[in-house]
Symmetry: C2
Subunit: 256 residues, 2 copies
């Protein structure tokens, strides 16, 4: 049996931002398992008549992890894919939780598992914006499908207070529109309304969109905020360079 | 004039974790500017007799940014390189601060600037560990060369309190050994001493090293902690799967 499982981060969703290792694994594998839209991406980049394409639904992450493990145990080289880095709000959690539940043994792994890292959405957004992430950063998902809003709110407040640059993932969905407004109100307690904020949608894909605005006004572009958007909230050190942003690390002198 | 400047993230420092775009830019460029060890990496991957190799020293980030801009204004295609993602504790801040100071105009850019994102060290470490970063994450540099320790401490406390997974960059240098101990004491105020902690050094390079230990005991491996190490501190949801780690997103039910 030569089965193996690779968790592969596809990056922003353009072939040119794949890592060489991700490309190698995707070209060599026998089966690709993932959310439909992501499997379609891989099928377009690396067409194959013989490879098995297993397309899953949103919300069925644990089913996909189980299926990927089973196929690998059956002897296939399986790529379980997510966009960005596959662990940052991707399939990493469901995969490793499932392996743990199944009693997977890291000393004699069946299947062997490799994690191939990828460029997460905050880094793709940053690349379009210049360098807003050049100081300490907090990544926060606003999705309360799993986590309770009380915890998300606590993290928003703590990170805003301690002046982290914020990268907000999953800021809103078609059903969930209130969280981003509440986030704005909470962050405004700690930062000026003139603080630079950028909305980046489908970063580094053909249909990318970028808005550079402010903490006080970014909800006016609310139509731009959905599950494909990352919201970058600058900290007290973030300034505009034309249409770009840079966050300067606080100099020791300034803090005296 | 065809000059252009690309800020290129080299990823962990193995060729196979470069993005295709980074590879394309590095192969096509006329000059590579960076810290000596990083320029050496690129020279080994993509040797060239004609390309200009500009090796700089640690601590001279602004000089390197200025030189890279000047060469691009002179008509060269310049790659300014850092490992990981070039903005996360890399050359992104110095580059964009220098562009701002020079009055660089984003509407008529001279030189045009492209940022090529890369796999940052926290993601490389995560790939070796399974999925410790599968919940909200705070990236914090413990280097107080620029930022004051008071701010670093405030961020450590806030992120530990609000139960972020922590990725600590630059945890110690040959001169600076106290910060990581103080960080441990601060985090212990909010988390059990049994909390999983991983030390990952030179992740995804030939000489990589991984230690999975606990918050209470990780300083016993202090020799492993230097500028090439990332320290991943689990949150209350982080558990071990054999020698791997996974952080489960807090379920809403558990929070009731």
């Amino acid at each position: 049996m030569t089965g193996a499982l690779a968790l592969v981060g596809l990056g922003p969703g353009s072939k040119q931002y794949l890592t060489l290792r991700a490309m190698e694994v995707l070209q060599a594998c026998d089966a690709v398992v993932g959310y439909t839209a992501y499997v379609d991406l891989v099928a377009a980049w690396f067409p194959s008549e013989t490879r098995r394409w297993v397309r899953g639904k949103l919300g069925q992450e644990y089913e996909r992890a189980t299926e990927a493990i089973r196929l690998a145990q059956d002897g296939l080289r399986v790529a379980l894919v997510s966009t960005g880095d596959a662990t940052i709000y991707g399939m990493g959690g469901p995969l490793w939780e499932t392996l743990a539940r199944q009693g997977w043994d890291s000393a004699a792994p069946d299947p062997p598992v490799e994690v191939v890292p990828g460029v997460t959405a905050a880094l793709s957004a940053n690349a379009l914006l210049g360098a807003p992430l050049a100081d300490d950063v907090a990544l926060i998902s606003l999705s309360d499908v799993v986590a309770p809003w009380s915890l998300i709110a606590e993290r928003l407040d703590a990170a805003a207070r301690a002046d982290f640059v914020l990268a907000l993932y999953n800021p809103a969905s078609s059903r969930r529109r209130e969280g981003i407004g509440e986030a704005q109100r909470m962050i405004l307690k700690h930062r000026a309304s003139s603080t630079p904020v950028a909305l980046v949608r489908n970063a580094l894909r053909a249909d990318q969109q970028v808005w550079v605005t402010t903490l006080g006004e970014f909800l006016e572009t609310e139509m731009a905020i959905d599950m494909s958007t990352v919201v970058i909230v600058g900290n007290r050190q973030t300034t505009c360079v034309g249409s770009y942003l840079v966050s300067r690390r606080v100099p020791r002198e300034a803090a005296r």
